[in-house]
């Protein structure tokens, strides 16, 4: 009962807040949010919703291969509403599973970047001096090596160090690690800036006096301050991560094609783009574009909404 009223109170306040108001007043944002929600929900529920399980080779049959989408062609099969690819995989189910994988990879990558960036930003801002200079210099260098190069590098190293045997199993970590590693800088800079402002405030000094770890105190005070900007960066990075994963797949360091991500699906489809079997490329392409577009629109809106100065 109490929890319920607390929740409703919170909901009420949320509904009343400026952020919610700015959300409601932008139809594009609402559309983006609905699209994002739908895509994410369908993707994560794909094991329940998808008509087929494209990642399970035992369910695939080459005799189902290259069926066109039902609505387009009389040759279509209602079992495969968006057609099948040359392995007999249902395109619709592949998209659902692939989106799930892409989202998982991108979310994980963004999480890696966020944790790394926030940690380094805290350390850099707190200790200052040489540590700060070093970390910020590394950040500069890091920015010269975009995700693609980093991924090729890491992939190369991992292939070399870990025996080739297990490569596919760790491919996903390579991609996550590479993308995560190349995104940390913006988080670090944001947090560092905030820490530098907070560092000299009285409560930090006070904390030191009463024997609390100032770093801990600062984490508690700084993190809420940077939630907004970090959230914005994370949203925008999410879109970037999805695209980067797709591009890596094109360059041959992506996820294995037996369990294709959305990007891998497009890469595979890219090869048959001119063959007339357009549905293999077009549907995953539309899904990817819609997802990234929606996420970015949300990020844009969030940035404007959370930055009261710009309102």
């Amino acid at each position: 009962m109490v929890a319920r009223s607390a929740l409703s109170g919170w909901l009420h306040r949320a509904a009343d807040s400026d952020v919610w108001w700015s959300f409601k007043s932008s139809p594009m944002t609402v559309a983006a949010a609905v699209a994002t929600f739908l895509i994410v929900a369908i993707a994560f529920l794909s094991p329940l919703l998808a008509p087929h399980t494209p990642f399970d080779p035992a369910t695939l049959s080459l005799s189902d291969g290259l069926k066109p989408p039902v609505l387009i062609s009389p040759d279509g099969d209602w079992a495969f509403p968006l057609g099948t690819d040359d392995q007999g995989r249902d395109v619709l189910s592949s998209i659902m599973y692939g989106t799930r994988l892409s989202l998982a990879v991108s979310l994980a990558a963004v999480a890696v970047a966020m944790v790394l960036g926030i940690a380094l930003g805290l350390v850099s801002g707190y200790f200052g001096g040489t540590v700060d200079a070093l970390i910020m210099r590394i950040a500069d260098v890091q920015l010269t090596f975009p995700a693609i190069l980093v991924a090729l590098l890491i992939d190369g190293v991992v292939r070399g160090i870990i025996s080739v045997k297990r490569h596919d199993e760790i491919a996903i970590f390579v991609v996550v690690g590479a993308i995560g590693l190349s995104f940390w800088v913006s988080y670090a800079r944001t947090v560092r800036g905030s820490v530098m402002v907070e560092k000299n405030k009285e409560y930090v000094q006070a904390a030191r006096v009463i024997g609390l770890s100032p770093l801990l105190i600062m984490v508690r005070h700084v993190l809420p301050n940077v939630t907004g900007p970090v959230l914005v960066i994370a949203t925008l990075n999410l879109g970037l991560a999805i695209i980067t994963e797709a591009t890596l797949s094109f360059l041959g360091v992506g996820l294995p094609s037996t369990e294709p991500s959305l990007g891998t699906l497009i890469r595979l489809g890219n090869e048959v783009l001119q063959s007339g079997d357009w549905w293999i490329t077009v549907f995953p392409g539309i899904t990817l574009a819609a997802l990234v577009l929606a996420v970015n629109l949300l990020g844009d809106w969030l940035r404007d909404a959370l930055n009261p100065k710009l309102r």
Partner: protein
């Protein structure tokens, strides 16, 4: 008119720009593309079909292959054996190198020794050779350690270089990677062939021009050939459709149908001599990547049979290969000496229950799990074929963990090691063509005979299949000169490996070439593309 290609590239570019406008009416420029570049202009740099045939436009062999891959005289007018261990080659008189110097027996001796020398990748064609010597201005004699009836076939891929030119430019040997020095022959060329190298930009473009002083009557009408590597297949197809190139080969199967519909493009298809097959680790007592411990299921012929007969090569042909393959049961393709047509009959496909029962009889009622290795950029749709195989085997309870990777990583993993240890694989894909000899013995020797460090047999038998009866037959056929007897041996050995389900031959991939409508060309079964058969209308 004499082209010298050694002056600066800039100058040549300008001269030729001028030339091509001046003679615009007759100029027949032929532009073509392939997925990768020729790795070197040195004809001995790499023993691979693409490099050998590309460079054969500049460097001609003593004996060349005609449109049907039969040997015909080139720089040698006559050749043969004076006794079982002595070969002779009579040099064609009056042939001149591109720089106008005459081609002599000295050049032949120099070239053959260079091909067998340090830095060269052609050494395997000289295993039997004892000595190469000049026997008069127009004759070269070769003695071998043992009778080698296939010497002429092997050497049909070895182009002849100019000794004087190599000496002058310090290119006596092929590029030696251990020294940080570049080799002049890597990006320059001096041969006798129908085309002269005009411009070489590795990875960008290579331009050849017609050799007006060629000894043979040209069957082409090209004045200039521009070759560009275009890695992305979609771009290649688009470029052909847009008319930016006149020809490309190894067209992706998926694009074959649309290209056929394009009024400006024609598609040539034919089987390639290479057979793509799957192999098993039959050597280790326990598979590297499997849930079966203590034994190796692939040592059991019943298991191999169940798997062999569960792979539907016709389904693969229909969807994955889009019709661009020629299923086979043998390890050699038609057109190769020793292909046994009456043995090329695939055993009937098993229903999943039948295959499961067969596995159960072999002691695997619940199937088993195994790793599989596959290249993803070597054969046509290699990775997709493997995926299809994974799906087919999943239906009979064999769970296959597929690992597809780029070719050099792939080969590093699955091929036998330098000490002849078996490749690190349980189940793999490989393609093989006896491209030097066009004879089945090469297949037995490399793939089917028991690996043996001393005799160098079975070097590419990655899974270590071993059948003493075949070993014996293969050794015998190597030196047998009586065709009937030899054919009988081949037949017997072929039957043995087929019945053993030693490998799972899948198909010959189709050689799909596509060209603009105004191009006439001849498609060869070994996927080589000599420019001397090309006509631009």
């Amino acid at each position: 008119m004499n082209f010298s290609f050694r002056h600066s590239l800039a100058l040549t570019a300008i001269v030729c720009a001028g030339l091509s406008t001046a003679t615009a009416v007759e100029a027949k420029t032929f532009k073509w593309a392939n997925s990768g570049d020729v790795s070197s202009m040195d004809p001995y740099a790499r023993q691979e079909t693409f490099l050998l045939t590309f460079n054969s436009n500049i460097y001609e062999p003593l004996i060349r292959r005609d449109k049907d891959l039969k040997l015909e005289p080139a720089l040698a007018t006559k050749w043969g054996q004076t006794d079982p261990t002595t070969w002779f080659f009579d040099i064609r008189p009056g042939v001149k190198f591109h720089d106008g110097t005459p081609f002599t027996a000295d050049d032949v001796v120099f070239s053959l020794n260079r091909a067998n020398g340090p830095g060269s990748n052609m050494g395997s064609n000289f295993v039997s050779v004892k000595e190469i010597k000049k026997a008069g201005d127009l004759r070269v004699e070769v003695t071998t350690k043992y009778p080698d009836p296939l010497l002429a076939d092997k050497w049909a891929a070895i182009g002849m270089m100019s000794k004087a030119w190599a000496e002058k430019n310090n290119a006596l040997n092929s590029a030696d990677m251990t020294k940080n020095e570049e080799n002049f022959a890597t990006r320059n060329a001096m041969g006798t062939g129908p085309f002269i190298l005009k411009e070489r930009k590795a990875g960008e473009k290579t331009i050849l021009v017609n050799n007006p002083n060629w000894w043979d009557k040209p069957t082409h009408n090209l004045t200039e050939v521009i070759f560009t590597p275009v890695a992305n297949p979609a771009t290649r197809v688009a470029a052909l459709k847009a008319g930016d190139i006149d020809m490309t080969y190894e067209v992706p199967p998926a694009d074959t149908e649309t290209l056929k519909k394009d009024a400006n493009v024609k598609v040539l298809e034919g089987p390639e001599t290479r057979v793509v097959f799957l192999g098993f680790d039959q050597e280790r007592p326990e598979l590297l990547e499997s849930n079966v411990k203590g034994k190796n299921p692939f040592k059991d012929k019943k298991v191999r049979e169940a798997i062999h007969r569960s792979i539907d090569v016709d389904a693969i042909k229909r969807t994955v290969m889009r019709g661009q393959s020629f299923p086979t049961t043998l390890m050699v393709a038609p057109g190769i000496n020793g292909y046994m047509k009456d043995l090329d009959k695939r055993p009937a496909l098993l229903k999943p229950e039948e295959a499961k029962k067969m596995l159960a009889d072999a002691g695997y009622p619940n199937g088993f799990e195994t790793g599989m290795d596959c290249p993803n950029d070597r054969y046509v749709n290699d990775e997709k074929i493997c995926q299809a195989v994974v799906a087919m085997l999943a239906k009979i309870g064999v769970k296959v963990n597929l690992r597809a990777q780029t070719r050099n990583l792939y080969f590093a993993k699955i091929l036998r090691k330098a000490d002849l240890k078996p490749g690190e694989t349980s189940f793999y894909m490989l393609g093989w063509s006896p491209a030097q000899t066009y004879d089945v013995h090469n297949v037995f020797e490399a793939l089917i005979q028991t690996p043996n460090g001393a005799t160098k047999k079975g070097q590419f038998n990655a899974g270590g299949y071993s059948n003493p009866a075949i070993d014996k037959l293969a050794d015998a056929m190597e030196q047998e000169t009586d065709k009937a007897k030899r054919d009988a041996m081949i037949k017997e050995a072929t039957k043995l490996y087929v019945d053993d389900f030693a490998y799972i031959p899948l198909h010959q991939q189709a050689v799909v070439w596509a060209a603009r409508k105004n191009i006439d060309l001849v498609q060869l079964a070994d996927n080589s593309f000599p420019l001397r058969f090309v006509q631009v209308k």
